[in-house]
Every structure is written in structure tokens, then in C-alpha cells.
Symmetry: C2
Subunit: 435 residues, 2 copies
């Protein structure tokens, strides 16, 4: 069935090490030079410049769309991807002991609940900025230090830095952290406001380790089944298990037996908890541009436009790794990204939720990392899985060892967090660590 | 009539000096602590987290909405505001003489025309990233040096740095430049792609002086007549002349006599050309937050929620500057922003098209400018007007001299450009300078 078929394909799209993700179709692209008439995008609505430039008509504004905050699981994990995302790594102050940490979590939980539901934060003077949350979600994750200061015995064994990979060039400015706040939504304004309000709450207890800001595509700009495209032009996230499917339940939350193709003994660190890996992956788009299109497609093993494997026609066609090309070598090269990511074990999988980043080319940040000045682009790669060691590391290991794509990508940041369960209105996120 | 009434109000909303802009209503806000049910936003569509988290439905994707590139005037001037904007200041290389400059303008014009119409740039390998322009516009502006190297006799007399104001703390990182490329659209992905393609074109001829990235609110998130809100929570741009109105035609393009309340002898530097002022205005949101709401409203002279003047009920009510308050002083203070911006001369006006910026709090940039670490926020203030000296400077002078709002805002960047006319498919932007 669809679910198990997707299960088999799980690894196929995952970019983990230096990588990105499978390529698949959202709309097909025309050849260079001809006007693009994307297949499943609507016909262009031409707005002429000048006097005829009337206001865009919005028939059904989505600003007040709300995603529930309270519940057994935190939102922002398998929530459908939003347009904008901010990830904030925090270091706890030395004097933030368990009591103070609980105070902080009460404060940020309460404000996250208010902001995501379209209310101002406590004593928020700019509450107008909160009135249109546009599917705002706030998700909290804990690093090792949070457990050290509360209940070390609950610390999952996988909650530690990823192994050091040769492909890595980790920058402390994007690595580690005692805690993460993930803020996402469809409106950059409500995201910006939430970031400021939550940082105001946190600043008495923690300092900023890093901030990463990213985007996918604007909400309502594409058909609803369009997966986001990264800055190499590849669709990113195709192989994800379907939300709510047996496979997704098992991969993310460790619930059930999955599709029967899994072999691991997955166990969530806490019921309705999961793990989050955040990798900042610099993409050398300038050198990538120097490849021709067939070469780009060969590196991935899929076509850029349709996302189909090189041996198939459609995005979800099963790749045929044995099919020989004209020269006798396989059409899909052994070092191609999809070949290396492939696994037959459906537990060896993750749920990806990545965002593009595109920094100012003049910023000082990571210009070190092979960028040539026109752009400083990449992927805030985010993956959720029940167990980092059993699910994430094997794929990462394979890709770090050999993946053609590694030539154009460099992991420059890395962090792992434990995602605690959600809470109800009388509780706060992380409460099980304080009882 | 509406147009002339707006004409009278023109200055009332303009923030120029250290300022921002009038406050007005998009939706009304509830009081702190109660759930917000914004008046003219639709009812919330609740999406539950977890299994029920199905994909957002998009009935009418706007990704292929296109704004014409070719025409007598450049797009991006009185085009309805998009959600995302990037402004790139360039310095011409020493060897970029008139011939090379013409080559550059041919190249960037051609690619801007292609990208805005949903086609890849010339030899664009990531053309999928161009297929959904989402009202992408590209606008080119020239600084003094472009005229020096081409036809100095066409240089407008107002094309020079603004006067030095006491309130200014200009940072070279956001000031000046020989040329500007303004890229705007509703999808951050197509804007990012266009930025990269156009910088690739330009890099043989020019280097980057500065880059500024901003946002308004996401397209389709708010009702279509909602003016954007800045990071002080104020609606920004209320007093703008109506696109296509007599006043707008005269204010922006120097065409006609306007509404009859103007007194200037406005003359465009070239037919269908105009001017652009870009001011980066840092906003100390942290200190602003320390004011209570009545004080915030007193600084502006308008209510935050509704945008109504303090003497009125609705956004477009005429402020009564003589109305006394309980203590005998005017309700709208003499030093309030709307009082200082006010003018009865409808030619003393501009068309504002500003974007919010909200940088990473850890960036090194302008943390100097009074920010306390939680946010580095402000406004990329953009104003178009036929004649900087006659229209912009008088308002700026008044606001720089006294405006209560100056206590929380600091201009940290400033640049002035001449906007040349549009072109047809066989021409290029700026062609009149090369004949």
C-alpha cells in the first residue's frame, strides 16, 4: 500500500550528512529560455504596473488560522510546514537551577500558548502584532544540560553531539546549545513578534547561543501538495512518512509497529516526546551553478524538474538502481545521493522539516565556508525521530562516507535536542522534568 | 472627495526623519489578556496538532501572479506592496565606463524581465526557482556616479546625500551607493533566487555597497485593504496618496496639477522617472515596550489599535489639533509625530513603500544603535517622490527638528537614487543615459 511503499522509500529522499534531500516534482519546469507555464500552478493573473495597479484581492485571509497549542504532543513537529521559521539556541545562565528553569518554562509556555492563539504575550504592548498568528507554532527542545539540572536519569542516551564527520566544518556560532525554541508560522511579522516576546521572557534565565532564520515558500503561493524547494532548485522532503500514518507514528513518536518493514526496537524517551536534529548545511550554489543540468541530476539521482528518479517518469516512481545506462554503468550512480540514502529498513528514517536560509552576502558569518560572495545560502536541516542513534545516525553515516552531493554542501552547524511532550492549560512544557 | 481629502492628509502619516509613519487601523486589537477576535479578519480556522494535522488547502495559488516588467514606468514604485523586499546598493567598479555600464544594464534588464515573468534568468540552471514569481518586481535606481559616467547634464539637482540631521547616526554599511536594485515579491524563494541571479550579472561591473532585507505581512494573511504594520505595532503607510489618483500621479511622477492644494512647480527629471529615498531607521523596540500604551499613542497622536487620531474614532478621521484635553493642553501634543508631519501643501508629500527589518540579535551590524540584544529591528523606510528637495526635505526637516518619536528611532542608513523610466522589450532600463 501507499504507506508501506513510502516506508520503503523513506531513506531515499533524506539528506543528512552533507546532503539535502530527494528531488521531486511540485510543478514541472520549462526549458531554459521559454516562458514557464507550470503544470499544476494556476494560470498567471497579470497585474499591470502603473495606474492599473490596484490592490491584490484577498478573499479569505488566513492570518487568523490557529494551530492548537495545548495537547499531548507539541505542535511544530508533524505540523504541516509553514513559510517562515526561526530557531533559537540558548545557553542557560549558571544560576538557572531547576526552580528557575521551571519558572522560565512556565513563562515561555504561557506566552507561547497566548501568541500562537492570536493573543498578545503577557503585558504585551504590541498585541496587534499577535492578532494574526497565521499558523504560528512554538516548540521547545532540551539539550543535555536541562536534564543535568533537573532529572538526569531521564536523559535519553542519544542526547549528545552527533559523531564528528570528516565532511563537517562546524562553526560554534551554529552548534550546540542547552535548549532550543523553534518558532514557525506563515507570516514573518507574527514570527518576528513571537521571537522578540519569547526572548524577552528568556533573557533573565539564558543567553543566545545561536539564531537561524529560514523560509520555505510563501503560503498559498503553490498548490497544497507542493513540497518545498531548496536553493539548489531541488524539492526537499519528498520521502517523509505521511503525517499520521503508522510509519510516521512509529518514526517520530515510537508508537506501534510501523509498516512491518522496520527492525529496530524503538522506544520514545518519554511518551509523546521525540528528538530533533538541527544541522546547518551551507550550499555552494555558485559552484553548483557551474554544473550542467544532467550533471546536477546525476549527483542526486533524480530529475530537477519532475523529481522523478533518473530511471522513472514520476516523483514517486521506484528508482531502479540496477538499470544500466548506455555505457554499461548504472543510470543512477552508486555515489548518487538517493542511492546512498537508501535503506530497506523503514525504522531507519526520520521526519524532515527543513527551511532554506539565504543570508546577506556581506555578512561576516559563514563566508568562510566556500561561498564566493554572491550568496550565502543553505539549508536549516531539521529532522525529528524517536531515537537519534537508531534512526538518524545510520543514514548520516552512509551519507558522510560517500555522497556525491557532499562536494557542494558543508555542514556548518549541528545540534541535538530532546523534544518533551505537550501540556495542558494548567501545565507547562517540560513539566515531567520537574516532578 | 476622497482623493482631495487624502491629499490634505498626506503629510500626516509620513515618518521621515527619525520617524515612522501614521498609525491606522487594519484590524482592531482586543485588550491585553483576552483572546483577540479581530474585527475584519475571518474567523480562525483551527488546525489541531498531531494526527489531525492535514495539509493546508490552497484553492487558488498565487505563485504565478505576474506583474508586467516592460512599460513606460518601472514596476515596484506604485505597485501594491509585496510581502518581501531586498534592497541592494552597488558601487560601480572603476573600469565600469559608459559602455560597460550599458552592457550591465542590458544584462540585468533582460534577466529582470525574465525572472519577473516566471522564466529562468539567462542560462539559469535553477529555473524551477523562477517558475512562481508571485508578483516579483525588480526596480533599478541610479546614484550620482551613474550620471557622472554617462550624461552628467541629466543629473537631477536633488540627486545628492540628504542634509546631515542631528538625529542621524549613519552607518556606512547602509549609506550611499552608485546604484540600487530593489527586488520585491510575495514569495521569499523567488525573491532570493532573483537576488542571486541579478548579483551574478552585476558582479563583473560592481561590488555590493549594502544589502537590506525586509518584510511586511504575508500575502493573503490579512484583508486586502490592510496597511502593513511596523515593529512598533503601528500601521505604516496610511497617508499615502491613492495609486493612480491625481495626487499620486503628481507626487510620484510630476504629472498634472494634483488636487489643487499643491504649491510647488514639480518637474520630473525625466518623463516617467522619479526619485527614491531609502532610510534605514533603527527602532528601539525594547525601550518602546517600556512605555505604557497611552504614552505610545501620545507620541504618535493616534491610537495603536484603530489608527484613529486621538481626537477621533476612525482611521481616516481628521485630527483636531486644537481640541484641549482635561489639563488644558491639546489632546494631540505639539510634538506628536502626526502634528509634526502635517502640512497643508499636498505637493509636500511622498509615496511610502517601507519594509520591516528584524535582524538576528547576535549579528554584529547595528547593535551599536541603542539595541539591547533581544532584537535589532527597524524600518527600511522607502519613499518615492518626483522631487526630493521640494517634497521630501521639508517634511524631513520638520521631523528631524522635533518629533517625539525620535526618542525611540535612529536613522542609521540613508541613500537617494534617481529612478529612470521603464523600457520596452527591445530596450533596457536607463537607456536614455546612453544615447
Amino acid at each position: 500500500m501507499d504507506v508501506s511503499r513510502r516506508g520503503l522509500l523513506l531513506g531515499a529522499g533524506g539528506i543528512v550528512g552533507g546532503g539535502l534531500v530527494g528531488v521531486a516534482a511540485g510543478y514541472s519546469a520549462a526549458s531554459v529560455g521559454s516562458p514557464v507555464t507550470p503544470g499544476d500552478l494556476q494560470q498567471p493573473v497579470t497585474v499591470s504596473p502603473g495606474i492599473a495597479n490596484t490592490q491584490v484581492t484577498v478573499s479569505d485571509p488566513y492570518g487568523t488560522d490557529i494551530i492548537s497549542f495545548y495537547g499531548p504532543r507539541q505542535a511544530g513537529v508533524d505540523t504541516p510546514l509553514q513559510a517562515h521559521g526561526v530557531f533559537i539556541g540558548l545557553y542557560l545562565h549558571d544560576d538557572t537551577d531547576a526552580d528557575r528553569l521551571a519558572s522560565m518554562m512556565r513563562l515561555v509556555t504561557d506566552d507561547a500558548a497566548r501568541l500562537t492563539q492570536g493573543r498578545g504575550a503577557l503585558a504585551d504592548l504590541d498585541e496587534e502584532l499577535a492578532a494574526a498568528p497565521a499558523r504560528l507554532t512554538v516548540t521547545f527542545g532540551f539539550g543535555s544540560e536541562v536534564f543535568n539540572r533537573t532529572r538526569p536519569e531521564l536523559k535519553p542516551s542519544w542526547l549528545k553531539p552527533l559523531p564528528e564527520y570528516d565532511i563537517d566544518q562546524l562553526d560554534p556560532a551554529y552548534t550546540g546549545g542547552d535548549m532550543v525554541i523553534q518558532i514557525q508560522g506563515d507570516d514573518p511579522l507574527s514570527v518576528a513578534h513571537a521571537r522578540r516576546m519569547l526572548l524577552k521572557d528568556a533573557r533573565a534565565f539564558a543567553s543566545i547561543a545561536w539564531v537561524q532564520t529560514g523560509f520555505t515558500h510563501a503560503r498559498a503561493s503553490h498548490p497544497d501538495d507542493t513540497t518545498m524547494r531548496n536553493l539548489f532548485g531541488q524539492i526537499d522532503g519528498t520521502g517523509n512518512p505521511t503525517r499520521g500514518s503508522e510509519t510516521a507514528e512509529r518514526v517520530i513518536w515510537g508508537v506501534g509497529d510501523g509498516d512491518g518493514n522496520g527492525t529496530k526496537s524503538l522506544q520514545p524517551w518519554i511518551e509523546n516526546g521525540t528528538s530533533m536534529v538541527v544541522r546547518r548545511i551551507a550550499m555552494n550554489v555558485d559552484e553548483w551553478d557551474e554544473l550542467d543540468r544532467p550533471m546536477q541530476e546525476s549527483v542526486i539521482g533524480r530529475r530537477l524538474g519532475s523529481g522523478a528518479p533518473l530511471t522513472g517518469e514520476y516523483e514517486h516512481d521506484e528508482p531502479d538502481f540496477d538499470a544500466p545506462g548506455p555505457t554499461g554503468f548504472p543510470v543512477i550512480a552508486d555515489i548518487s545521493h538517493i542511492r546512498r540514502a537508501r535503506t530497506s529498513d523503514s525504522d531507519e528514517a526520520m521526519f524532515r522539516r527543513s527551511f532554506n536560509y539565504d543570508e546577506l552576502p556581506t555578512s561576516s558569518g559563514n563566508q568562510l565556508h566556500g561561498h564566493t560572495g554572491v550568496s550565502e545560502s543553505g539549508l536549516i536541516f531539521v529532522a525529528f525521530q524517536c531515537d537519534v542513534d537508531q534512526q538518524y545516525i545510520p543514514i548520516q553515516d552512509r551519507l558522510a562516507e560517500t555522497d556525491h552531493l557532499n562536494l557542494w554542501t558543508i555542514p556548518v552547524g549541528s545540534a541535538v535536542f530532546a523534544i518533551p511532550p505537550g501540556c495542558e492549560a494548567d501545565g507547562f512544557i517540560g513539566e515531567p522534568l520537574f516532578v
